[in-house]
Symmetry: C2
Subunit: 155 residues, 2 copies
């Protein structure tokens, strides 16, 4: 079991537009199960597939089990079994020696851009990029599992 | 995606007692999700772990996706997330050039012994060992996912 400790911030769209970006990867992900205590996520990226089981969040922390699977099988699992799904572009940005993952959501979540930083402890210090705006760590409506069932455009 | 095509038989306990057996493996398995259209099973054997997603059965056939995972993580997943589980000894028996898997159930399913043969097509011919009794392919109460929630001792 791994522990996922991450903090999440909305992104200022105007400032984000001026950031020099690497190529994004296209992610399609869906959920075989979402309940308050666990989610089972299947993700297909441009080249890979993953199955990820996450436990309940406590603060910025939750249990995470992640397994790489063939991309083609990830797509089959999504087509056959996902109860909900979403798509996004993911940018990986190195800022002040930390990796930020910025998700530009698509489809019914278009208009939403969220940045995450993965930490090794809840109190780890890090520098905030100027394009990072309000913190939304722990706000349930921003969980990807919830965005897949109640997308941003329907808030 | 693989297709699992298997037929299932009850086992005659008296005849089974006289069969020369290899060592059995102890299996603990549980379900993160069981619904009529899919099951997500986690299994820990003596040495390995597996996560397996199965679709709905059509006759003797169903879709199956299986991934090997670390045994320790299989046990953690079972402890943290399984909604139901069961234990059994599994014997692998070669009979007339076919592999039979014989499950001797434990715990609340003690007293139940079921043999399965995996086939490459629904109409594949095979020889039936004399310890194989009534066929129960497709009988839902014998699905392991159902045995984990409504065990044999409560029938």
């Amino acid at each position: 079991m791994g522990l996922e400790i991450e903090r999440k911030f909305l992104v200022n769209h105007v400032k984000w537009a001026t950031v020099e970006k690497p190529n994004a990867e296209f992610y399609r992900q869906g959920y075989l199960l979402t309940d308050p205590n666990k989610t089972i996520r299947v993700r297909a990226t441009d080249t890979k597939g993953f199955m990820t089981i996450k436990g309940k969040s406590e603060g910025a922390t939750r249990a995470e089990f992640e397994y790489e699977i063939p991309k083609e099988e990830a797509i089959q699992l999504l087509d056959m079994f996902a109860v909900s799904d979403l798509t996004k572009y993911r940018y990986k940005i190195l800022f002040a020696e930390k990796l930020w993952e910025v998700d530009v959501f698509l489809g019914e979540n278009e208009g939403l851009i969220v940045a995450e930083i993965e930490l090794s402890s809840e109190d780890e210090l890090f520098e905030l990029p100027d394009w990072a705006a309000e913190e939304v760590t722990g706000e349930k409506k921003y969980y990807n599992s919830n965005l897949s069932t109640l997308p941003f455009s329907k808030w």
